[in-house]
Symmetry: C2
Subunit: 198 residues, 2 copies
Amino acid sequence: MADGALTPEQILDTAEDVLRRFGLQKTTVVDVARALGVSHGSIYRHFPSKTALREAVASRWLARVSEPLGEIAAETGPALPRLRRWLEQLIRIKRGKVLDDPELFAVYHALADEADAVVQEHVGKLVDQISRMLSDGMVTGEVRFSDPRAMAWAVLRTTMVFHHPAHVGHWSLPEADVDRAFDDIFDLITRGLTPTEA
Amino acid sequence: MADGALTPEQILDTAEDVLRRFGLQKTTVVDVARALGVSHGSIYRHFPSKTALREAVASRWLARVSEPLGEIAAETGPALPRLRRWLEQLIRIKRGKVLDDPELFAVYHALADEADAVVQEHVGKLVDQISRMLSDGMVTGEVRFSDPRAMAWAVLRTTMVFHHPAHVGHWSLPEADVDRAFDDIFDLITRGLTPTEA
């Protein structure tokens, strides 16, 4: 491949393939360069270190989670049904990733442990999105007045069993069991979010 | 030591010491026997396999969590303040264990992955205890009528970030941050548990 044509996206696509095949520990920048038929210098031109490349891979993977969710958060209309769709979509994306491509999921889980700043930024985006929906709900009176950011953290934390990679064992339960558990928790937290006089 | 005097409790105490020093992977029944000055046959008389010994160690450790909680659950008086004390005590026990003896905590976390049936039994006990408090609250009208077992699961799952070993990184946050996060979540779930007309 001509180095001039090499884009960051192509490097990240290839890095993802190589990681899936070799795993996180065994993958080097040289492996990625070899798979692309370029010198490792061509990779370093875009990503100055192995860490930078890994963080970019993790960041792109997490963006595939946060971007579709951002679209739901930015919709208009009732806030609590939107929050429910948002959480269901988050769960669907995570569950889909682990069931469709468990090897890559395991790599990303390990990668996330290393790329802590990238994960924190991602979680920050999710909290912003939930805050936005809760703030909308305060305006319409669907959600009681409170600190929307603190409540957003509480919503993300109370549903952790459905989307935090540490609980991946839970996601492979029969769909009906996960759905039932989610219904119970969503019921609990939406009742908690609703003004008492409603 | 005279084998005749050897009690299961002594074996478990020593097994815990040996696990703390050697770690889960390197500890054998022979190591435990040597530390006690007995033959490995003396251990096998009480615990028929290495797995049985490990499960007994895990089971005793988990009992130290569930037993003091069981006393709180069995108290009388208002159900929701009791549930709050129960959760605070659960968090205090787990936090204490990891801060006071991180090596042993790491061993138990690894052990819990192996002794799944033991962990399931433990979680079942915790769910029973929460169910009992919620059922009491339904009788007094503090808690809305619903399926107390399903709600108990929801309470345990929504507070997972504070007591599931996978989130141990979170527990070392400054105490004030953890307390604030717990207050927000407890507020959310107790409002969710309370009848709407209250």
